[in-house]
């Protein structure tokens, strides 16, 4: 009697949570699927299910010169942002990961704060700052702005990876006569490589997708893809937006599978 009651209870909890979780996962994944399916429509309207199937809107992307240029700008900025974030972020992570000093905690807070402060406010502040210094928005400044909001990702995963690193290994290396750089290159880096890689991947995606900072630091001459798409959605009912959205979803999926294989992405996020 008692055990059956417990069984029902266990089942009920599992069912309720299971149902909620299932709904939530559908909630998470369905929109991307729907937009991909809608992009295969042969008509001008964004109806789902699509009326007629065709690849015409994907073909139309070949003529979308401005969109291609914006995509290229985004890739360029994301590449440089990731590079700088990884180099500076890994260094920062090593410096503060195992230290309990006050300055280390302060640095940690400082480096993480872009994730908590509204990025839009920072973007605007950066614009004001640049103008004060007498400059105009340009790609280098855009990259710097992105580094501020993307480096925290590299830091987070690198610090997590470093905290898993057994200091005994490093001690062993030093006691065998290796200097700091050799130890770093042959022990530390390979062991935290996956963590850094996952962070780099996240930083890249965050930069490619960034809107709040790009809104202020990217102007018409340095148009980036998310802003271009946002403008298009706000002003047109263009199905080409669905096509490029479909491409972005698929590209993200592919990149994620790659990141999972090389850097064990899902393990880094848990």
């Amino acid at each position: 009697m008692h055990s059956r009651h417990a069984d029902w209870e266990a089942l009920s909890l599992r069912w309720v949570f299971g149902a909620l979780a299932a709904v939530a996962i559908v909630f998470l994944v369905a929109p991307s699927l729907i937009v991909i399916l809608t992009s295969f429509t042969s008509s001008y309207s964004l109806k789902f299910p699509p009326e007629g199937l065709s690849l015409r809107w994907y073909a139309a992307l070949a003529d979308a010169h401005q969109m291609q240029r914006a995509a290229w700008n985004s890739l360029l900025v994301a590449f440089w942002t990731t590079l700088i974030s990884v180099v500076l972020g890994t260094g920062g992570a090593i410096a503060i990961a195992r230290s309990r000093a006050v300055w280390a905690r302060a640095c940690d807070l400082l480096f993480m704060s872009p994730l908590l402060l509204p990025a839009l406010a920072f973007g605007f502040a950066a614009l004001v700052y640049i103008h004060l210094l007498g400059f105009q928005p340009s790609i280098p400044f855009l990259v710097l702005g992105h580094v501020i909001v993307c480096a925290p990702f590299v830091l987070r995963t690198s610090i997590a990876a470093l905290s898993q690193l057994d200091p005994a290994l490093l001690d062993a290396s030093y006691s065998l006569g290796a200097n700091w750089w050799t130890t770093f290159r042959r022990i530390t880096l390979p062991l935290i490589g996956r963590g850094v890689g996952a962070g780099a991947f996240l930083a890249f995606m965050a930069s490619f997708d960034n809107v709040p900072v790009s809104l202020f630091l990217a102007d018409a001459r340095t148009e980036v893809l998310p802003i271009h798409l946002w403008q298009q959605i706000e002003t047109n009912l263009d199905v080409r937006t669905a096509a490029v959205s479909g491409l972005i979803v698929i590209a993200t999926l592919v990149l994620m599978v790659v990141a999972e294989k090389f850097a064990g992405l899902t393990r880094q996020m848990r």
Partner: protein
Amino acid sequence: MSKSITRREFLVAGAAVGTVALLPARALAQEKQLVAATFPGTWNEAHREILAPAFRKRAKATVTQSIILAHDQVSRLTAAKGSRAPFDVAIFDSPQVLDAVKEGLIVEYPAAKSPHFKELLPQYRDKWGPVISMQVIGIGYNPKRIKTPPKSWDELFDPKYKGRVGLTALNSQLGIAFLAELNRINGGSETDFEPAFKALKKLLPNVGAIGANLGAYATLWQQEQIDIAPYNFNFVATLSGKGVPVALSIPTTGAVGWHTSLHVVANAAEPDLAVQYIDTHLDPVVQAEMMKAPFNVIPTNAKVKLEGAITQSIGKTHAELARIRGFDWSKLNPQRGALIDRFNREIRL
């Protein structure tokens, strides 16, 4: 150990690829790039589909067309005054031209460098920049739900349209023009907008949605969230071309409109390309192409014979078009900010 070497090599290879990948970017950067402003909706599409390819063929340069409302263009140009302008070609409606000239934001149009300029009808040859089209507003309506085309702005106030009337925010010319026309019909003038706001407040129970911008406005039509609203002739044509149920009716009080013109911006990065771009827009071939469905852009080049939807709804000859009523923008402009502010506060759902 071998795994770490592979990963390191991977990183090095990646960096090398990245550096190499940047080289074409430099090459791309060498090709000249013009940045031109454009309006949302029909304008953006017409410019992208027709003007950009024609320009590219003629000048062997690319153009980035940035969607910015006229009022915002003036803001950005004012903010960048003295340094390099954020875009090279500005597109203004009649009101903005006055402000821009006063603030020194645009330069006189070098007509000598523009072969098609003299082909324009005389009233469109402005020394600050040629008029490329006229925009006309009327009563937009969903022909599936409203069988007889509305003939008067008063029909918006009809209780049977409760919750089905659309409005657009005043940041667009459409909004301001509608406000001004509503004002005029109700006895106001360019200096007294009280009648307009009184009328809008009376309209409020009927209003179902206020579009933040023209794109959101278009969505309202597509989603059939509104049945009747003031709308722009060009935009109606584009939307109905995409299968959205919307048509335009010119009220008996007459068509209302304004000019739209292109200008070379002061401190432009590419002034010569800017002139070529504008001249391309004056080309009768380009204008004839834009006059066709679904853009229905009203041409200003005398060599273009009017045909299509324009002749059915607006006017059959250039002379008729010239008679479309406008407003005294020099009186209206100074109040714009206050009008927008008041609208945002008082006309809210």
